[in-house]
Symmetry: C2
Subunit: 304 residues, 2 copies
């Protein structure tokens, strides 16, 4: 699972930061968290491709977060895309897509599946992961999302298997599927003797645009990576409250309370050419923080 | 008058070419010819600013030519823009703007003036220039545009003025305004004795997406710069005809017949990483051709 920050600015782009978008590349899937204008071009630097399934999760329908979608749909059509695109967002997302296609009288040649998210909780369960969401605390309806991988089976202890004389082949497969086996020697082996405890899947949480929120703290709990907006620096907390945004200290407090592994600050206002002060403000509260930069790639490791 | 190519690709962007847009910066105005996705970010490299009047002329309403507009409007609003934006395009442009703003329930804080262009000819006359258009030959309603500067007064012959003993000040101003003057010596001087013939203004023509067209040849006549699309190379002429596009030889023939000064080829298909063959094909017919590249700047000189 590879994550690429495609756009890390807030509201308006800068020479260094494009409008908000994050891509997560999994085996046969590409998942977007927001899709600001220019996302398809940013993708070119990240070698992401267009796999069979593309999912776009929109945090909210403010212009800076959504205007990369029509161009992406156009490009997929031009390239005769044979997969399917799934678009998820808060109420209004259906009107967004319809109005956008109607604006240019455009008819994509592949299916677009639309899901309006009306309530919090689990919204998608796939073979290897699920997606959860919760309302964010912005000035229009907005959502925060988590991608949570299912737990994986425990490790198969190769050395012990050899010691116990468990032959390779169907007997090992049975154990891996959780069934006890009887060896040629007559000895019975239970899966728990040879297979470790189930291992935790990885978890990523994205706040979208929001003031600090208990619900997001809850959603983010135990994440390997929390991507939280920090539009304004600590000195602008009043403006942040007024506009439904967060400061670095606030984002770091969410990260600390949610006991996440790492915190990425994004949606950086164009006024900060050098975001170092924002990083310092956050690190005072949560050390394992970094500033998301355009085209920065994160390879998420499993934690044992 | 400074012209900047902001996007020179056709249909889909490439790492080197963004979607179609050309900016022309005049004293207090910024004029766009098309406005593809990502235009506002491309602008950042070109030091164009947001002057009091912004005009966007859309050649047609295909997705690759228009999806930079909503983001531009959003950014202008965020920056508390105090000027006005004028949007011109073929029938459908009103629906485009309305649907787009409706899609995100967005209300810009500055006036947007809309002009649907229903017929060819002169569509705008300003103090120093006018805009003409003619239908292009594409697969949906499309327009080509010319910007033509009004002719300027002839040159004031400083040397001759000195020789004739014409003092600086109001007497010279009178001559420049076309009135004869009587010198202190009693001699009468006519403006034509001291001021040269009116000088031609500069002219730029933009084809938009089109197959070769007699009307565009007519519109482009005598242009200092013709910007003509050349989506496909000469070997793909059948595809060009089918899709309403042009080849380099066709664009060069229009340039030759219209007796323009220079030809820029743009809307280059993403399949041509190296556009040199397209340039060679055009130069066989019209020597003064170049390939437009993103962020290339052209300072248009007056021809005497």
């Amino acid at each position: 699972m590879r994550l690429v920050f495609l756009g890390t600015s807030g509201s308006v782009p800068t020479p260094k930061r494009n409008l908000p978008a994050i891509a997560i590349r999994r085996k046969r899937e590409l998942i977007f968290l927001d899709c600001g204008e220019g996302t398809q071009r940013q993708m070119m630097g990240a070698n992401l491709g267009f796999p069979k399934t593309i999912r776009i999760f929109l945090s909210h329908l403010h212009p800076d977060h959504v205007w990369g979608i029509p161009g992406l749909i156009h490009t997929l059509t031009m390239q005769d895309y044979q997969g399917s695109l799934h678009l998820y967002g808060p109420p209004g997302v259906e009107n967004y897509l319809k109005s956008t296609m109607q604006a240019v009288n455009f008819h994509p040649t592949f299916p677009i599946e639309l899901q309006t998210i009306e309530s919090e909780g689990n919204i998608l369960t796939e073979e290897e992961y699920s997606i959860q969401c919760t309302p964010a605390n912005h000035n229009i309806p907005a959502l925060a999302y988590s991608l949570t991988e299912h737990q994986r089976p425990g490790r198969f202890d190769q050395k012990k298997a050899k010691r116990l004389g468990i032959p390779e082949g169907p007997i090992r497969s049975k154990l891996q599927q959780g069934e006890p086996v009887t060896l040629p020697s007559g000895k019975t082996v239970k899966p728990s003797e040879i297979i470790g405890k189930p291992r935790k899947g990885r978890k990523i949480t994205y706040s979208g645009d929001t003031s600090p929120s208990q619900k997001i703290t809850g959603l983010a709990r135990g994440s390997d990576l929390l991507i939280h907006e920090a539009t304004f620096d600590d000195s602008m907390i009043e403006r942040a409250i007024e506009d439904g945004h967060s400061t670095p200290s606030q984002a770091a407090t969410v990260a600390k309370n949610a006991k996440v592994e790492r915190l990425a600050l994004t949606h950086i206002s164009a006024r900060y050419e050098d975001p170092t002060p924002l990083l310092e403000q956050a690190r005072r509260i949560f050390k394992n923080t970094f500033i998301a930069e355009d085209l920065m790639q994160i390879e998420l490791k499993y934690r044992e």
